[in-house]
Amino acid sequence: MLFNSLPFILVFAPLVISIYWCLAGRENARLWFLVLASIAFYGYWNIAHVPLLVLSLGANWLAAGVFARADRDLTELADRVNPPYDQCVMSGLRSRRIARRSRTRKTVIAVSAIGGNLSVLAFYKYLAFFAATLNQTIGSDFHVTPAELPLGISFFTFHHIIYWVDLQRGQAPFYRLRDYALYIVNFPQILAGPLVRNREIVPQFRLDPWRDGWDERLGRGITLFSIGLAKKAFLADSLATTATEIFAKAGRAPLTCLEAWNGCLSFAFQIYFDFSGYSDMAIGLALMLGMVLPLNFDIPYRAVNLREFWRRWHITLSFFLRDYVYIPLGGSRSGPTRQMFALAATMALGGLWHGAGWTFVLWGLLHGVGLAVCALWQRCLPPLPRPLGWALTLVFVFVGWVLFRAGTLEAAGGMLAGMSGAGGLGQFGAWRTLVIAAAVALLGPSSVQASATMAPRATWAAVSALVIVTALFKIGGGGYEFIYFQF
């Protein structure tokens, strides 16, 4: 089910949120209801993918149970091997041995679980890509029919992985099935995040929605949802028409300079309003359930360098990549050479996570190299003037989006050739929505900031209501899917 669809806005959301609040006094019923409603939300898109979600959820939870029992099982085993009478003599040695064996066993379980999750992701998302790459490079003849990608698989797989790493690090407990299930399937975040650490969200499940400030959370949640819906319906979907048309032409016919830049800019603002709009809606919906999800976008196109851009764009993915890939690869503590490698590798993997294609890998590598240059610059050279840094960052990011969107290297080449002026100057085409989008993205406050500081005035309530009702008409004829659903 899409957030920007009539069934969701007119039926699912009002119904589920109302029942959830009616069950507020009964924690178990309230949370299990939310689990089941979230699975129904997921299955509405394609019910055939529900078994995979439930299986993956069950398998991870059972494995986590085995992980949690590892200490106890080994202690019991040691008690049988070394009877209690020599406990005093042996206790020190035994404790160390048990701890070592326990650690090893836990590591094996955690690594297997993470490997298993990544294997499922690889099967659905990367198998056909890997086979095609092998066929091209070594001349093999693997025929792999691409499996239909289950919606949100990249996001729920990463949530499993976050939990396993935290479990292994001792930063997460073994949750009861209800809490773990809700952590994975909670409908505001299951399809496209925000990626949230279990320790940030699971403790909130038990909080009474009627606790102090319930009406403010509900009001701000509604406002945030309406802002996100407006971003998606009025800006992202309008820009999508231009971007789709121009990128479809790239690689098949030469593009003029202004036309290609129109396509590039339209996509740059489309993806921003599409994904930040989705995130606003997700955070708003969670607030309506009494939960606070982390910030995912913070006016990224105002960043004055690439590092700052990644601290403002898809913030929760940036945290994931930093904490679970970049730092384990060495981070910035092992010298500049290692840091450069870690940055490039992390971002290339981040690119590949977005999609199984070389354009995504190149996009990730481009940002990895950009971040490496940025890090070196900050170590060795004085900072650039802010306007110059902002302009350079923006051009770099916008050009990078061409690789991200193009689909093939030929199409990306066609777009970049057009943008460089190889096809003549030409005409820009549709620009009105682009100007409005640019003004909102560059000058306006972030949605979360706007909703968090908004005074509870009846005018704002009326504006939110009118925005939602108008957006219903805008999306009624069928809007575009959210871009990040394909990842």
Binding site: L6, G213, P456
Partner: protein
């Protein structure tokens, strides 16, 4: 978390929620009631204003108005291949009042929806229907949805589907245009639905030849999975049920549209056998009902071999349309109009 719960005074937020709910419900109910009352597509449901036709728009939606227009008693159905059949010329030949309900890019499924719509709104006043038939009718998936979107909701029998379908941006634009039309301004869609695709175009031999070669290659591709045997064409079964629901006095003429000879399935190909079985089913269906005729131009003939009769392999010119219209008139006379 604290950034979202800074206030300790709950009164203003409760009022905020109350205002939101009140405005949302009022705006949603008010806007949908306004749209339904204005009836921008002139469907006749919930309308409170006098019928003034429909603002200029796509035939997919404009035909809801034309299909129920009591000024006509004959309707032409089909896609762009039947588009050049002229309501005016047919009216002169036969003496009826014709409206064209043809919609480019549609198939049997959509054409039968339009036929039912026209039949329901005209009842016993429906003198007859001319239904264009093309290769899509003669496939096993003949009732599948056409690739181009079709507003099923506009022709739906149940009002909730219709009301929910009206929640779209285009409807708001059409509502504004309809209000302008009611106020005496704006441009209305052509009442008889005729849309001459030859208008403003000059036929060119070389260009026509190139188009014919290109489109003929596409048209003749009916593979063995799509080809059917007798009794395996769902669109014919649906048409049979539709005929049974029509008043006895209403005539129906099925017209197998002509295509350029090169676009006909070659003998021995799955498409050829399928076509033959399909025509036999059509003949049987026509034979089972009085006042039902079949006109077949989907065959190899001098007309089908003359490039001057075509814009491309599947779209004929007015000169051929006029020949078909005369033949339709002859069939109608022969069947007892």
């Amino acid at each position: 978390m604290s950034s979202f719960t800074s206030s300790s005074d709950r009164g203003p937020w409760c009022r905020f929620l109350g205002s939101f709910l009140a405005v949302a419900v009022l705006a949603a109910v008010g806007s949908i009631c306004c749209v339904l009352a204005v009836d921008p597509y002139d469907t006749g449901r919930f309308a409170v204003f006098p019928a003034v036709g429909v603002p200029k728009t796509d035939p997919r939606t404009a035909n809801a108005s034309r299909g129920r227009d009591a000024a006509f008693d004959w309707a032409i159905l089909g896609n762009s291949r039947s588009q050049l059949l002229s309501p005016e010329r047919l009216g002169t030949l036969i003496g009826g009042r014709f409206v064209s309900l043809t919609i480019p890019g549609t198939g049997p499924r959509e054409q039968l929806i339009l036929a039912r719509w026209a039949a329901e709104h005209h009842g016993r006043d429906l003198a007859g229907l001319v239904i264009g038939v093309d290769a899509k009718w003669c496939r096993k998936d003949s009732l599948s949805k056409s690739p181009t979107p079709f507003p099923d909701w506009l022709y739906a029998a149940d009002w909730p589907s219709y009301a929910l379908g009206m929640v779209r941006w285009k409807t708001l634009e059409m509502t504004v245009a309809k209000i302008a039309l009611l106020a005496g301004g704006g441009q209305a869609a052509r009442r008889d639905g005729y849309d001459d695709y030859e208008s403003g175009r000059i036929w060119n031999r070389d260009e026509a030849h190139r188009r014919i070669v290109e489109t003929a290659a596409l048209e003749s591709r009916i593979d063995s999975q799509e080809a059917g045997e007798r009794g395996q064409f769902p669109a014919i079964e649906a048409a049979r049920k539709f005929l049974a629901s029509l008043p006895e006095r209403s005539m129906v003429v099925f017209v197998f549209n002509p295509v350029f000879a090169a676009a006909l399935p070659s003998s021995g190909a799955p498409g050829a056998a399928s076509q033959k079985a399909c025509k036999q089913d059509f003949a049987e269906m026509s034979g089972q009902r009085r006042r039902t005729a079949l006109v077949d131009y989907f065959e190899d003939s001098d007309l089908a071999r003359d490039e001057q009769n075509f814009w491309d392999a599947i779209h004929y010119r007015s000169r051929l349309a006029e020949i078909i219209e005369k033949r339709i008139a002859v069939e109608i006379d022969a069947t007892g109009h």
